[in-house]
């Protein structure tokens, strides 16, 4: 990669369509995705349930105490949507993946709204590891890869704590060897 002549980027010439013409967004050349811990589903479910309880309580309060009937309908609707999305939670967690490639970190998430991000290691400004209360009970941690661009948004949730620390050290090491100025 280093000795590659720079001006001749692949893709400058019109390329023939080699990618499979599936409707889904996918990276055909990408390798094996690393998945986050299945236990992370629990974290998501607990968070969703808490959100659900708050919505129900607020709607109930508006309905019963202040006599606002519309609040009950809105609350019920939000609760229904949340419950349906709860059913997809395991799949959504399975969709989160990342891989450390030669020069960049590749990240994906989402099933309905898919998102792929690729960040060259040299662009790393810092790596953040956070642990929420429930994640800590399950021995999980979230890792965030921060670049100078606010929109990069590479956050890998639900890593086993040891994995998160190892991944952080690995990323810092990779970034050090490929440091790019801002």
């Amino acid at each position: 990669m280093a000795e590659q002549p720079v001006p001749d980027y692949p893709g400058t010439e019109p390329t023939e369509s080699v990618a499979p013409v599936g409707a889904r967004l996918d990276l055909p050349e990408a390798g094996e995705w690393k998945r986050v811990s299945p236990k992370y589903v629990m974290v998501e479910i607990v968070g969703t349930v808490i959100f659900l309880l708050i919505v129900c309580a607020a709607a109930g309060a508006l309905w019963l105490l202040l006599d606002q009937v519309w609040a009950a309908w809105v609350g019920a609707l939000i609760a229904l949507i949340t419950l349906v999305s709860l059913a997809f939670e395991p799949r959504r967690v399975r969709s989160i993946g990342y891989q450390l490639r030669a020069d960049d970190l590749l990240f994906r998430r989402g099933i309905m709204y898919q998102r792929f991000v690729s960040v060259p290691y040299g662009r790393m400004q810092l790596v953040d590891i956070t642990r929420g209360p429930i994640a800590r009970l399950l021995g999980l941690a979230d890792l965030k890869f921060v670049t100078a661009a606010a929109s990069s948004g590479v956050a890998i949730p639900g890593l086993a704590e040891a994995d998160a620390d190892a991944l952080r050290d690995r990323l810092v090491e990779l970034a050090e060897s490929r440091r790019a100025g801002l």
Partner: protein
Amino acid sequence: MTSLADGDWHRLHPASPVLRGGIFVFALLGFVIANLRERFVDVVFGIPRQSGDPLDEIYERGAVGWALLIAAAILIVILVAFTLSWRMHTFRVSDESVEVRSGILFRSHRQARLDRIQGVNIVRPLIPRLFGAAKLEVSVAGQDANVQLAYLGSALADGLRRDILQLASGARQPRPAAGESLPEAPLPDGDPTLMPAGPASAGHAGRRQALNDYANTRVGEFLAPELDPDAAPPESVVRIPVLRLIGSIVFSGFTVFVAVAIVALIVSVIVGGSEWLLIAIFPGLIASVGYYISRFTKSLRYSIAGTRDGVRVGFGLLTTSNETLPPGRIHAVGVTQPLAWRPFGWWQISINKAGHSTNDGAAGQAATTVLPVGSLADVAKVLELILPGFALDEQRVLIQHGLTSRGGDDGFHNAPRRAAWLRPFSWRRTGYAISAGAVLLRRGVLSRELVLVPLARLQSVGINQGPVRRRLRLATARLHTVTGPVTATLGVIDVGEAARLLETVTAAAVASAESDTSHHWSRTGQDPAPAPAPRPVDPVGPTVTEVTP
């Protein structure tokens, strides 16, 4: 090398505290005048006063002594505070960094590394400018992280900027004194009375000769071209004709707003009966006139030039500003054309950069507009300046296509026909291309836009797809750069093409960052040729004066 960049601590211009407190001083002056205006009228024109003023009040109550004492005390406190703050405010420029120490009670010490400089800005607000002072600001990436030197002597500021940029560029040897002579414009007759009021009153030297010299220097500095003629080769300078500037301001979104307001006003007057509308709109219309005038004066004398140490953007008639962006500090470039500008073929260029000057740019916009209005030729010229490597015919053609082409097979990877469901007018034009170390994104047909992202500055690449785009086998692509007015997004792109874009752009960004040397832009291949020097693409190429660190 001036004596200021020698690694020792130096003080600012002695009048700095007064100049920095400028508005406050003038408010005080205004307050005094407002209260004593009848007395002035009495003294000057001999018209007797009708009512008493605060001085009469003091006199009648027999508190003259106290009043004098209080005035003297306040004066002394202010003087002491100003002197102390001047003495404590020191700065130092060394090979590695710029440092500023300031504050009396709360000391602060700020240090900026020279190889992290994002831009050097010299601002001359009107009043300090009359006194021959200027503010120098070194911006680095980060919120409120700039190092400000307010105020320095005008000539010293110019010299210091040259030194800072030279040190930051990594050139260890002093350069041939290209800009050594100060931009002292030769005065035709040296008559200060022709000049705007001020310079003569600024002098307070006793002897007539000294006063004359001082006034002449001030006037010379005031009239000096904001761009040192030695600093940039004339062919790399872009200027904006006054008529075009007026046109660009008149044909803006704000005018539509004003026109609507006027129509509403007329209608309300004709229909009658609703005075409140008149009251609501009329002051706004008067204010809008002020807005037009201030936009105009702030954008006057706009110039963009390529210097050895990057692009210099200068503007302003009364308050002048002059920012130098070293090579490789520009993270994204957006070339746009609002619909109203299309008949005239005008374009605007704005950029994303990591460091932000605290001063407003031209026309009160954030200082991210490098070309407020320009023709196609101006755009090509500016792009060559800010993106070294875009001076070749291939890139010129690509830019031409990116700006004005209606789409088709012209070097861009365009969106497929089915994208018309989401972009009914612009789908033909929505596409990307990679060339000369930058990604070009093209979009919009009514309001046309071309975004260029230098690969070495690109932070990451993302592709998204929601349910609607999945049905159409489309996706969204976004190049992530530092925050700014330019967002590099492609709203529609073929699914397979999106995946390819992610792979190719990432690979190219990695390769480009490896060969990027712009943090020490003069270190490799210290060029004797005038700027704009193309950024050396190959780091192992012939180096003239490589200095091993």
